[in-house]
């Protein structure tokens, strides 16, 4: 039932919203007044600085030689060489990972599905104390064997819920700071509780899967959330 009103409708709504936003923005005090209203905490400044650092820096400007256009033949040759290099690199990485896997299997007796690393020095991640309160999943994630300082812990994670059709993504977040590292019996731990909105996906079994990306490595942990009485 779309008609010619559709376009003017969007335009009018846009115009109205823009006008309201401009009115609201005009009510914000000038910058010099805002500056004296609030001093940002050190934690905030550090977090933003970290976030900024995670964005790659601008590369230096190209020189004259680089600016020159390569001939089409050279381009094809370069592309071919790159593809070959990538293939060699992939093959090399694959062979390395197979070797590593073999050595892990030999030394590990028990294999916990939620623990991804076999190396003693690498971290392990577990999701526990999960409970579902008013559609929000309260889950405590523990990072074990964390050796660097706590501020460098900045994992991103994606939550999945088990539905009839399989695992369905619920949401993803990026944590700027997990918390303080605590040392217990020689191990470094960081434990942090997250509240995640699960309203987007209905899971009859309360079965969830958390995937964390931490220091370029993917970790996975399955767990069941309890409904507190």
């Amino acid at each position: 039932m779309k008609n010619s009103n559709t376009l003017p409708e969007a335009e009018l709504l846009s115009k109205v919203l823009n006008q309201i936003m401009e009115e609201e923005l005009a009510q914000i005090p000038p910058e010099r007044e805002l500056k004296i209203m609030h001093d940002f905490s050190e934690e905030f400044v550090v977090s933003i600085s970290q976030l900024s650092d995670s964005i790659k820096k601008k590369p230096p400007k190209k020189g004259l030689f680089e600016k020159r256009r390569l001939s089409s033949y050279l381009k094809i040759a370069a592309a071919f060489a790159i593809v070959l290099n990538v293939l060699f690199a992939l093959a090399f990485i694959k062979s390395l990972s197979i070797e590593k896997k073999d050595s892990c299997n030999k030394t590990e007796l028990a294999n916990d599905s939620s623990e991804s690393a076999c190396d003693q020095r690498s971290i392990t991640i577990t999701a526990d104390s999960a409970s579902l309160i008013n559609g929000y999943l309260q889950v405590t994630i523990t990072f074990e064997n964390v050796t660097s300082d706590s501020l460098s812990i900045a994992p991103s994670f994606e939550l999945f819920g088990e539905t009839e059709s399989g695992w369905e993504s619920i949401n993803y977040e990026f944590a700027l700071n997990c918390g303080e590292a605590v040392s217990i019996s020689g191990h470094q731990y960081v434990t942090k509780t997250y509240y995640l909105d699960t309203s987007a996906v209905y899971t009859a079994s309360n079965h969830y899967r958390l995937r964390l990306l931490y220091q370029d490595q993917l970790y996975e942990a399955d767990f069941v959330a309890e409904n507190p009485k």
Binding site: E9, N18, I20, I28, P29, F44, I48, N134, S156
Partner: protein, 183 residues
């Protein structure tokens, strides 16, 4: 398919991000604090807003432009409302449960025309903040439902539901407003 969060890595984005931080951080804090009325929580909202921004730098144009200022304004409002909602432990403001989104119920187009501009202005101002934010993302910042879903950390279905409800709410307000003036 797993679509994991990845940080932006376009070369100019770092400079742009830093410029936005320097230019708008105080304004962002003020906007957030007006909503949450808690200086520390407002700081958290600003932090969340910067995180979102860092992932959507491709949506940011000229840093000094009014469009960018408005985009940042919308994001920080949305993050402040989100934090407030989480803090008060209220569930989704309306549940966001899926419902019949048939266009039969959507008569908003009938009420939106130039003659009703003033009424529309009044009614949009009356809209709940969370509805306004979805409208701002859609009609001011021209984001797709998919992009809005990514920003709001919800599924596209939830975005559809919110837009649908926002339209219904606006329609109801307009019915009341226009009817009131006609009497």
């Amino acid at each position: 398919m797993l679509l994991f969060l990845t940080l932006i890595d376009l070369p100019e984005d770092k400079d742009k991000f830093n410029e936005i931080y320097q230019r708008y951080k105080h304004m962002m804090w003020y906007v957030a604090n007006e909503i949450v009325v808690d200086p520390h929580l407002a700081e958290d909202a600003v932090q969340d807003a910067f995180l979102s921004l860092s992932m959507h730098m491709n949506k940011v144009g000229e840093v000094t432009s009014s469009q960018t200022k408005k985009f940042i304004f919308t994001i920080v409002k949305h993050k402040a409302i989100d934090l407030l909602r989480k803090r008060t432990r209220q569930n989704e403001f309306l549940g966001d449960t899926y419902e019949d989104l048939s266009t039969k119920q959507d008569l908003l187009s009938d009420f939106i025309h130039k003659d009703n501009y003033k009424a529309l202005l009044i009614c949009v101002k009356k809209l709940d903040a969370i509805y306004r934010i979805v409208f701002e993302y859609k009609y001011v910042h021209q984001l797709t439902d998919k992009e809005i879903a990514k920003l709001l950390n919800v599924t596209e279905k939830v975005v559809n539901v919110r837009i649908f409800r926002a339209r219904k709410k606006l329609q109801k307000l307009l019915e009341e407003e226009v009817g009131f003036h006609e009497k």
